[in-house]
Symmetry: C2
Subunit: 311 residues, 2 copies
């Protein structure tokens, strides 16, 4: 049994690699919900959707987000009608948002809805939100507090990042499937995917019980650094690190996850490669995942590293 | 000043003819809301949309409903995800439903939203819902009570029509713009468009104040029969009339609107053509509206008939 923690695109890619290697009953992918938001009355869960689309093979690799063969009639008409067009909603994507919103409003859990959408999309593996309760990442910037999507999409991460708050996290109940898996004696590894630690993994860890369970898990815990040569493959992780006065690299990842991981998998060119920071060992690999084959390769190497740590 | 009462496709066509002849300030089109319903959490107003699309020149003449150049990615994905697919929602159409739902939920009036959508669609004329309050047509059938869209779309009008109830109508407030126009000394005519009297005009008349205002209006009141040679050009009006034991034709229209209209414009081939039923005169015209030119022709003839009745 492997537990993966994942956020957006990078996380989804490694999660997909793991899913291609592991049977559905041997993998639980717990996904960030801090990016979730309500837009035009629709409940939108970007990270859950990215993971689901990636595992379903429906993701648009070129654009980097959303669904392949997407069409945009809705957005074109929304624009004509003077509606808000800063957040792109594809026609196919919308079906999921509308269905999910309707079921959430009827009182169903995000876990159940996510499971049904995954199954209907042909995904057999378990994708769960870290919590069925709302967690909302609020970015503290030089222009004041911004909701996540305001910062990330509308303002394109331009405001200076000063800090983050996970609204609702303290009152949220962790997904029992995640806590059970982390406490399961059969747990073989925890893999923190190369998602943005602050934006994507932070909200997962902020839900009561998750960080503690990770701290006390018996299985090897591995985090994969999202940084390659001081930059993130995708997203604002490096920019944010620099704005926090830190150096974007595996060293910062090791410090961020101190006490929660045994190993940080870092890129071969990372200056921290081979070092030990605190109690965290840096294992160098080629962390750039090129296509599904690259995703499987890195997943295989992570699982091998975890196996080598098991007593 | 002309007031038109309209429901779906036939009503929208004559309303469009009137709009092409009259300045925006000289026409108010009051539209049925009895077909409105909530589907997948979206507030859908089929008749308002049909009238708006028709006046905007965006309607799909071929299909008979919805918007031209529509795309169907949303529906295809909804179907894949196991969502309800009995009511077709086009990608472009959806933009309007989503915007309207969001604004209704924020407490805005259907009148204001309808106005804004019409303007954004390039429609200068006034299209108003008969009421901002919900009126819901319930069809009494041999299979029990069915909500309007259940009867009309899902069951394709197959169940035997036994009667209709306009839920919410008694408590609804009539649109003050409609009542003001009907009481306006400058009112020159009321035109009841060739919509289904029971399904489309009935819910308008059921809103307190509308029927009374029509009864006491000083201007000529004209209803256009939707029947040509015993059949409706579109929709189940003839089927319903027969199931109620009546003969689909202008005579039945004259009886339905007794006391509310001075004239029924009927098709030249209608057996009632030229007769007087109760106090209602039957004036025969070619009521088949072929294309925009046909819509304008019938509108012009109706306005001329009204003018000839004015003292």
């Amino acid at each position: 049994m492997i537990v993966a923690l994942a956020g957006g695109v990078g996380g989804a890619r490694l999660a997909n690699g793991l899913a291609k290697l592991l049977a559905p009953e041997d993998l639980i992918i717990a996904v960030n919900v801090g990016d979730d938001f309500s837009h035009l009355g629709l409940s939108i869960c970007p990270d859950i959707d990215t993971v689901t689309y990636t595992l379903a093979g429906l993701n648009d690799e070129q654009r980097g987000w959303g669904i392949r063969n997407e069409t945009w009639s809705f957005m074109a008409t929304l624009r004509q009608l003077g509606g808000p067009d800063w957040f792109a909603l594809g026609d196919r994507d919308l079906a999921k948002h509308v269905l999910r919103t309707e079921r959430l409003r009827a009182g169903e859990s995000l876990t159940a809805i996510t499971r049904d959408i995954a199954r209907a999309s042909g995904v057999a593996h378990v994708i769960i939100p870290v919590s069925d309760d709302p967690v909302r990442s609020i970015i503290q910037t030089d222009e004041g507090d911004l909701s996540f999507q305001d910062y990330f999409v509308r303002r394109r991460c331009e405001p200076l990042f000063g800090g983050i708050r996970y609204d609702g996290a303290a009152a949220a109940t962790a997904n029992p499937q995640l806590l059970a898996a982390l406490a399961n004696p059969a747990l073989e590894a925890v893999v923190i995917c190369p998602s943005n630690p602050i934006l994507s993994i932070g909200p997962i860890l902020a839900v009561p019980g998750v960080e503690e369970s990770l701290r006390t898990a018996r299985a090897p815990r591995i985090a994969v650094s999202p940084f390659i040569a001081g930059e993130a493959v995708k997203g604002p992780a490096a920019k944010i690190m620099r704005e926090l006065g830190q150096s974007p690299g595996a060293g910062a990842i090791a410090e961020y996850y101190a006490g929660l991981v045994d190993v940080v998998v870092c890129d071969e060119r990372d200056p921290a490669a081979g070092r030990v920071i605190g109690e965290v060992r840096m294992i160098a690999m080629d962390t750039l995942m090129q296509g599904p084959a690259g995703q499987q390769r890195l997943a295989r190497e992570c699982l091998a590293a975890a196996a080598s740590l098991r007593r």
